[in-house]
């Protein structure tokens, strides 16, 4: 006896759940909708349960329009945020990892800004997706996600230097701006990205010229690990995103502050094992703090912060 086909969904929630599931299934390699449903039955039958055919398109073809639009939209946004990762692993591999990632970590908010939130963890769990460039790919992804954070993450009021001076370093806790990301990398990603962009501009790969397409496809980022770790701050200054190299001790100091250590402990841990004279260390700390204050990186620690309104004062509020 032939198996009875499942009933057509009637309830709004059931129709939406079934259609969303179909829309979010990865496309075939030729960018068409998969012909088999997850249980092996024909996807055309599933489409026909909810979608009417017309005189030009079958139910399957009508549903396919939405399936394609979903993937082209998400892959487009993802590709814009992680263009350097594409240059590391190559277009074909990038497209495969993007689909694998977005299938397991689809968008969970109204904004596509957060699409790459779990990418680093995902790629760590699936090194085969970036092999043989996994270390470089992970470094690049961390920097690209830090750029997303730096672009629009909220800022806190900067610390008042006079208030800092009035508190003993033993008890003073200092926070870092939420838009600031500190990274320890195996590769000089800042320099690599800069060089890569310059090369693309020189070859015209940023223009719309047809000839540029070939260049864009070929353009790759290739690098060996640095001899020493690269310490990088990705931050925002006057509305633009910047990279700033940090000395290892400065990186350790900032990291300790971010993790909640009092200033005195943070300074001590930063210079633990250092051959610097105490006076040299003190001079460095003073110089770094002057720069960080100037850049607006220092703010009250998270425990002292009040909920903030958006930057600038709302009109008419």
């Amino acid at each position: 006896m032939p198996k009875a086909s499942p009933p057509k969904p009637v309830k709004l929630a059931d129709v939406q759940r079934l259609m969303a599931e179909a829309v979010m299934r990865p496309l075939r390699r030729d960018e068409g909708m998969q012909t088999a449903w997850k249980d092996g039955s024909p996807a055309a039958e599933v489409a026909a349960r909810i979608i009417k055919p017309n005189d030009r398109l079958s139910s399957f073809e009508r549903l396919q329009i939405y399936n394609q639009q979903y993937w082209w939209r998400l892959l487009g946004a993802f590709g814009e945020d992680f263009w350097a990762l594409r240059a590391v692993v190559g277009t074909r591999k990038f497209d495969q990892l993007a689909v694998a990632y977005l299938e397991s970590h689809g968008s969970q908010t109204w904004t596509m800004r957060d699409l790459g939130k779990h990418l680093e963890a995902f790629l760590r769990a699936h090194p085969e997706l970036t092999a043989p460039h996994t270390r470089l790919a992970l470094d690049v992804v961390r920097v690209e996600w830090a750029r997303v954070i730096a672009f629009d993450e909220p800022s806190q009021p900067v610390l008042d230097p006079q208030k800092i001076a009035a508190i003993s370093p033993d008890g003073l806790r200092i926070g870092l701006q939420p838009y600031l990301t500190l990274l320890e990398l195996a590769h000089p990603v800042d320099a690599l990205l800069h060089k890569f962009k310059e090369r693309r501009i020189e070859t015209g790969a940023f223009s719309n010229a047809v000839a540029a397409t070939t260049t864009r496809r070929r353009a790759r980022i290739v690098a060996r690990p640095s001899r020493r770790p690269v310490h990088l701050a990705v931050h925002r200054h006057e509305l633009a995103v910047y990279y700033k190299r940090l000395e290892p001790e400065a990186y350790r100091l900032l990291t300790a502050l971010r993790d909640g250590a009092p200033l005195a402990d943070a300074c001590a841990s930063a210079f633990a094992g250092s051959k610097d004279l105490p006076t040299t260390s003190a001079e460095k700390i003073q110089r770094w703090f002057a720069t960080w204050m100037q850049l607006g990186w220092l703010c009250p620690p998270a425990s002292d912060r009040r909920p903030q309104a958006a930057e600038g004062s709302p009109r008419g509020a």
Partner: protein, 282 residues
């Protein structure tokens, strides 16, 4: 019939969508434009360059907010966090009304970022109207819902799209953002008379009109917003403005965006059809 309670009785003329490629032109040359429509989600942020640009625009221009992710037609209720962020932005922009689409787009916390078509059922009427009322009550400004272009129809539908629209806006007591291009695209994709649709729309509820270009494929039309407005859509616009009177009108151009001047010229063609046109930029 110059304006109505769904656009806060404002006399807006012809607006343009505020898009990134035009930022520099607008801020440097300050062209005369009646108003700009912004995509709310692009500015529902806590900091950064987009908000800085928006504040500069607000110093010079009137802004109306248009959303793409409220998903009034979702089976689930509107997200409160989303609403709080949206309300904060409305305080900033002082938008006289706010619009979003008559569609659904997320299920069980997963977002499609698409404007998916509604099954036109009585259950969907009730659910959608409930969601619109909730949003309108929370935001405390008039809400207008926009008809979407669609490529699929559902077996479960119990009425036409225009009947569905009418039932929803009556029950929600909200306005309509009438997208004439979307009606045209859907009419070709589903084989109905677009003028029957236009004539069924309650004119007193139309807060705003959208016009746009679309792309013709062999077997269907796609709403791409990457072309000038096509003649059949202008004809429908003429018909619509005869029924609803002078109404705030916006040209959508979102892909392959040409120069600001070209987009503006295309939008101003609407002046030919608006009764008693007194657009600032005419």
């Amino acid at each position: 019939m110059p304006a109505n309670r769904f656009n806060a009785f404002t006399e807006y003329g012809i607006g343009l969508g505020l898009r990134i490629p035009h930022y520099a032109h607008i801020l440097e040359r300050k062209p005369l434009v009646d108003w700009f429509e912004i995509i709310s989600e692009n500015y529902m942020l806590d900091a950064g360059r987009p908000l800085h640009i928006l504040d500069q625009i607000l110093e010079q221009y009137r802004v109306v907010q248009h959303g793409v992710s409220m998903y009034f037609g979702n089976a689930s209720r509107p997200n409160r966090d989303h609403l709080r962020k949206l309300k904060r932005l409305t305080k900033r922009t002082q938008t006289p009304w706010i619009s979003d689409h008559l569609c659904w787009g997320s299920v069980d916390g997963r977002f499609t970022h698409d404007l998916l078509p509604m099954p036109y059922t009585w259950e969907a009427v009730e659910t959608t109207a409930r969601n619109i009322r909730e949003v309108q009550d929370f935001l405390e400004i008039p809400v207008a819902v926009e008809n979407v272009s669609s490529y699929a129809e559902f077996h479960v539908s119990e009425m036409t799209e225009w009947e569905f629209l009418s039932e929803v806006v009556e029950r929600a007591d909200c306005g309509i953002l009438l997208d004439v291009n979307n009606i045209y695209v859907s009419s070709k994709n589903h084989g109905f008379d677009p003028y029957v649709y236009l004539d069924a729309v309650a004119p007193e509820r139309v807060a705003q009109i959208h016009i746009a270009g679309h792309t013709k494929f062999e077997r269907y039309l796609l709403d791409t917003h990457d072309h000038p407005v096509l003649d059949p859509v202008w004809k429908m616009y003429r018909h619509a403005t005869k029924r609803v009177g002078r109404t705030a009108t916006l040209l959508e151009w979102d892909d392959r965006i040409p120069s600001f001047d070209e987009v503006h010229r295309e939008a101003l063609k609407a002046n030919k059809f608006l009764p008693h046109a007194k657009s600032l930029a005419a």
